[in-house]
């Protein structure tokens, strides 16, 4: 039985629920979880019910890393830290945007905790608005495709690099579609002393507009097209990159999602898709994926 109990209000096929389950099952009972506001927090804790089988706290949207810092400091001061793992699990909005300050401070202070970003590439809980993690040309409710727009014109913020620049001893990317790999990385991150970070790709069927049954399938396409590189960084050095043998063109990933559909129907869309392909190509070169 998972430590994330059923009966929660996540969508059928929810990527955040998968992520939460994998994190808890990788880490076990001796874990304290801090959540910022977001889908995972809201659908798991409608008072008086909670899906969390471990101690859990939600404070505000932008302060999960600061709250986690405080939990860590308290356990140390009380002499109760032992092997208890402290994990903050937050969405991309809470992590890359509004929570960036608190994360920066927590990593710079060097608290012994792990921050896991569950990245579904938009502010999903409030209705699919763009965030700093929304990829190029994704259509969201605040960056919609339209007569004169191909959707989000901005590039995805490179959060793992920002964390690595803080001197974190362990940074990794993962995906809910590659569960054993994700759990291995989460476990490793929790075991490494100091502030560690795992950035998890989480395909959201509701926000990205695909059938709930395809969550894992879409996640695999992201990796197989090099749109989501899987790698680890240990003390700032990239290690253990997942290489791709038969890399697929990005169209295979884009065409199964409603948020990119406009690229296939609008005039000039094909040209714009090349820019997305360029991102995948850059990933391959930069991370040495082939």
């Amino acid at each position: 039985m998972s430590l994330l109990k059923p009966g929660h209000r996540g969508c059928a096929g929810c990527c955040d629920a998968l992520a939460g389950k994998f994190v808890l099952d990788a880490l076990g009972e001796d874990t304290i979880v801090v959540s910022p506001t977001g889908c995972l927090e809201v659908f798991t804790t409608p008072y008086p019910e909670s899906a969390w089988g471990v101690p859990w706290i939600h404070s505000l949207f932008e302060n999960a890393a600061a709250v986690a810092s405080g939990v860590e400091a308290a356990l140390k001061a009380l002499g109760k830290k032992n092997n208890t793992k402290i994990v903050a699990i937050g969405g991309d909005g809470a992590t890359l945007d509004i929570g960036l300050q608190a994360i920066s401070g927590a990593f710079e202070r060097g608290h012994d905790f792990t921050y896991i970003c569950v990245d579904n590439e938009a502010y999903m809980n409030t209705g699919v608005q763009r965030s700093g993690a929304t990829p190029l040309y994704a259509s969201t409710t605040t960056s919609p495709a339209g007569k004169v727009s191909f959707g989000n014109p901005l590039h995805k913020k490179n959060m793992p690099a920002i964390i690595a620049a803080h001197g974190s001893p362990y940074v990794a990317t993962a995906s809910v579609a590659y569960a054993p790999d994700m759990m291995r990385k989460v476990k490793k991150a929790a075991e490494v002393k100091g502030p560690t970070y795992v950035h998890v790709h989480a395909p959201c069927c509701t926000g990205w507009r695909f059938e709930g049954s395809k969550t894992v399938e879409v996640g695999k396409l992201a990796v197989e097209t090099a749109m989501w590189p899987l790698y680890e960084m240990e003390n700032g050095v990239i290690t253990n990159v997942r290489k791709l043998k038969n890399r697929k063109p990005v169209e295979e990933y884009l065409k199964v999602q409603g948020r990119f559909k406009h690229l296939f129907t609008m005039q000039g869309g094909t040209e714009e898709i090349k820019k997305i392909q360029a991102i995948a190509d850059w990933n391959v070169k930069h991370f040495g994926m082939e």
């Binding site: 109990k5 929660h8 929810c14 008086p48 089988g53 709930g212």
Partner: protein, 86 residues
């Protein structure tokens, strides 16, 4: 129900909410095709597919939302989504 003042709640109390009522399609498991790989249980977002003693897998229909990930991922096509009768 007594309010616990710190807005705290007992762990796992969401089990009171039977999300099985949500679904339109239900997964049907064919053990003859199953290779016992466990991928279905791994990728169930509700965590309600459990391994039986004989190694096969079974969903808890009280909570299954009918998302279909298990059927989509099964390498043996041993799970089929079937429209649930009334």
């Amino acid at each position: 129900m007594k309010l616990i003042i710190k807005t705290v709640a007992k762990p796992g109390s969401t089990r009171a909410n039977k999300t099985g009522a949500w679904r339109s399609f239900m997964p049907v498991f064919d053990h003859k095709l199953c290779s016992k790989c466990g991928i279905c249980a791994m990728y169930c977002p509700e965590g309600i597919i459990t391994r039986l003693e004989n190694g096969f897998f079974e969903p808890d229909y009280e909570y299954c939302k009918g998302c279909g990930i298990c059927a989509n991922e099964c390498p043996k096509k041993a799970i089929v989504m079937v429209l649930e009768g009334k």
